[in-house]
């Protein structure tokens, strides 16, 4: 009886989100994660196949490699999924799919953590992203569409992969403070057009999204240029993946903060063994809001998980530019959202 069990688990996750934000989680993260995994393993052949014979601790829960999300239907929802978020597929290797029965938990967690991390977020949103009405499978657009508040609205300024500069300029003319949500790539493209400063009091959110394209600027340079040209009140950064329901937020140059319902683990890429806090490794995430898919996700990113759970990103795992003349590995690695 998937619906009943799922509803009970969804209620527990919902309560965990609310309770943990209030400093009083209703139950331990570990217990809820293990219950979610057991339910997923009972209903998803992929989770069942990857689980070790005995899952005693939360770190025993398998993290499904992102490559598998492109190859197999990961999770308890199969071909009849009401909601499907897809990776962009811009670097080859097909598109990964994150299937959900609904977005209630996704929306609740994403919005709650964004509000906590960016309490001064203006209610009007200007997104250098595809309109979710046009790209309903973009998890990033879906998340940003949650942000308007107080009578504000969201406008979308990427069409068919191209930045809509005229529409953007018109939108910002005479506007009040806005929350500018953008991928790094779109922001770099916009900055090349020498834009006017944003309306006073605006904020800029930059998220990944290089997707195999080479950018002339480093993250630090991009953020500095955005500060200098757009003169926002501040720049914030966000890290998310199509395969995750929850996101990490931060300030440029500092570690990303995961919500209490998302834990990061850095593992030895060779063995998958967790590394101690402070040591760089391949990042895995355990996301309680990934109810319908897989609570554990193994990324292709490298980073450091600090003692307080915050994450410093280093970028892609090194060595994708394979040696030899076989087909390159790098064509098959891709970051979602």
């Amino acid at each position: 009886m998937i619906p009943t069990e799922r509803a009970l688990l969804a209620a527990r996750v919902h309560a965990f989100v609310d309770g943990s934000l209030a400093g009083m989680p209703p139950e331990p993260f570990e217990r809820l994660l293990l219950d979610l995994h057991r339910w997923q393993a009972a209903h998803d052949p992929v989770a069942a196949a990857l689980a070790p014979p005995e899952v005693a601790a939360w770190t025993d829960v398998p993290a499904v490699p992102v490559a598998l999300w492109k190859q197999l239907p990961v999770g308890t929802v199969k071909d009849d999924a009401p909601v499907v978020f897809r990776t962009s597929g811009t670097t080859g290797g097909g598109r990964g799919e994150h299937r959900l029965r609904d977005t209630a938990l996704y929306d609740h967690g994403a919005l709650a953590w964004a509000r906590r991390c960016v309490p001064d977020m203006p209610g009007d949103v200007v997104a250098l992203l595809e309109d979710p009405a046009v790209a309903p499978d973009s998890s990033l657009s879906h998340m940003v569409a949650l942000f308007p508040r107080g009578g504000g609205r969201a406008t979308w300024h990427v069409r068919d992969g191209e930045l809509d500069r005229d529409g953007l300029a018109a939108r910002l003319r005479d506007a009040g403070p806005v929350f500018l949500a953008t991928t790094a790539f779109a922001l770099a493209a916009w900055l090349q057009a020498d834009p006017d400063p944003l309306p006073p009091g605006s904020l800029v959110m930059v998220t990944g999204g290089f997707k195999g394209r080479r950018l002339a600027l480093s993250d630090a340079e991009l953020h500095a240029e955005a500060e200098a040209r757009l003169r926002p009140r501040r720049v914030v950064v966000e890290y998310g993946m199509t395969e995750l329901s929850s996101q990490l937020w931060g300030t440029p140059g500092e570690a990303y903060l995961p919500p209490p319902w998302l834990r990061a683990v850095a593992v030895d890429p060779a063995t998958g063994t967790p590394r101690p806090p402070g040591q760089a490794g391949q990042l895995r995430f355990y996301d309680l809001c990934n109810l319908d898919s897989a609570v554990g996700v193994e990324t292709l990113d490298e980073g450091v998980v600090h003692g307080d759970g915050a994450v410093t990103l280093h970028g892609r795992l090194p060595g994708a530019e394979a040696r030899g003349c076989s087909l390159p590995l790098e064509g098959l690695v891709e970051r979602g959202s």
């Binding site: 052949p45 992929v46 196949a49 990857l50 398998p62 499904v64 490699p65 992102v66 490559a67 598998l68 190859q71 197999l72 890429p269 060779a270 998958g272 391949q282 193994e298 292709l300 490298e302 892609r316 795992l317 090194p318 060595g319 994708a320 530019e321 394979a322 040696r323 030899g324 003349c325 076989s326 087909l327 390159p328 590995l329 790098e330 064509g331 098959l332 690695v333």
Partner: protein, 351 residues
């Protein structure tokens, strides 16, 4: 071509073989490097080399070989033929990744052979012949960078496979394990997919052979991204097929619909053929390099019909990574001819 020049090239070959222990670290284990060095140097027998240098008419006076992304021994046969003709050669390697290049050049210098190495991009300018091995984007970039009258031969990424209707299972598994061990699976002649009519039997036999191969030629360095990809391949096989693995090697049985053309270090991807023995259509769309088949099958009509029009070379298992010097490189095209002034001007574009 003078006998003296040829003799110097053969002396260069012998010097490389004698100094194999002095070859720089290239990420392979020492026995693994020895395996591929021996294969490359064994191909340079005197008769074959003499024949090859005579192909293509008058030699170019100078050439640049761009080893942008290829296996470390790939330049050796090209250098041997070009140097054997008296062509001055510049070997351009990636910045910070010289591979064997300085070692090859030092031994050439000692014998008076005109081989120099560089990491400068400008090396492709001012020479009448450029050979480039790299990913497709690099090949295109070099083509665009050279003058129109320069002969530019480009070799992009390729995929190889083994077609293995089981016969003498143990012997063939050992041969296949050798093909998989060479270059740790990173070469375009590595069988990245093994097609067989009995996947479980093949996997068991191959696992035993790969374990032995690992003991004989241990796997070298594996990058973090490769480790991650190996773990993903293992997870895929665990979820959909079967996994047999040991320290430094793995055999993954996966369904036809989930074949991945990317070869991973010491990872055998075993796929079951349908009842008709036909390779899956997706495989036939890959840019095929070598097809390895069991002994006695190379000229079989079935093999020639299936793979003859697609593969650059069909050979027995165990010889996939040991190409003869004299061979058809690319479906009816012999590149030794193209590296002489009288050869076809752009054979690589014909593929």
């Amino acid at each position: 071509v003078t006998l003296v020049t040829l003799e110097r090239v053969l002396a260069w070959r012998d010097a490389l073989r004698a100094d194999a222990a002095g070859a720089p670290d290239v990420g392979l284990s020492r026995p693994g490097l020895r395996l591929v060095l021996d294969a490359a140097l064994d191909a340079l027998d005197a008769r074959a080399l003499a024949t090859a240098v005579d192909l293509g008419g008058a030699p170019f006076e100078a050439a640049t070989f761009v080893a942008a992304r290829t296996v470390v021994t790939a330049p050796i046969e090209w250098l041997a033929v070009l140097l054997g003709r008296g062509t001055r050669v510049t070997l351009k390697h990636p910045a910070g990744a010289p591979g064997l290049a300085p070692w090859l050049a030092e031994h050439a210098r000692r014998l008076g052979l005109p081989l120099v190495v560089t990491d400068r991009r400008e090396a492709v300018q001012g020479v009448p012949l450029v050979i480039v091995m790299g990913d497709d984007a690099t090949v295109a970039e070099v083509r665009d960078a050279v003058a129109p009258d320069v002969r530019c031969l480009g070799f992009g990424s390729r995929v190889s496979l083994a077609w293995w209707p089981l016969g003498d299972v143990a012997a063939e598994a050992a041969a296949l394990a050798r093909d998989l061990a060479a270059h740790d699976g990173r070469g375009c002649m590595t069988p990245s997919v093994i097609l067989t009519d009995r996947p479980d039997e093949a996997a068991d036999a191959l696992a035993a052979a790969m374990s032995e191969a690992e003991a004989r030629w241990p796997r070298g360095e594996v990058t973090p991204a490769e480790h991650a990809a190996l773990r993903a391949r293992t997870a895929l096989a665990r979820a959909t097929g079967r996994v047999i693995e040991g320290p430094g090697w793995g055999v993954h049985v996966v369904p036809v619909g989930l074949i991945d053309p990317v070869g991973l270090p010491r990872a055998a991807q075993v796929v079951g053929l349908g009842a008709d023995g036909a390779p899956p259509p997706s495989v036939l769309r890959w840019p095929l390099s070598v097809v390895g088949v069991p002994r006695g099958w190379v000229d079989a009509p079935d093999v020639q019909r299936r793979f003859g029009p697609l593969a650059a070379r069909i050979c027995t298992l165990g010889a996939m990574q040991r190409p003869d010097l004299l061979r058809v490189h690319e479906r009816g095209l012999d590149h030794w001819r193209a590296t002489g002034r009288g050869g076809p001007s752009a054979p690589a574009e014909a593929r």
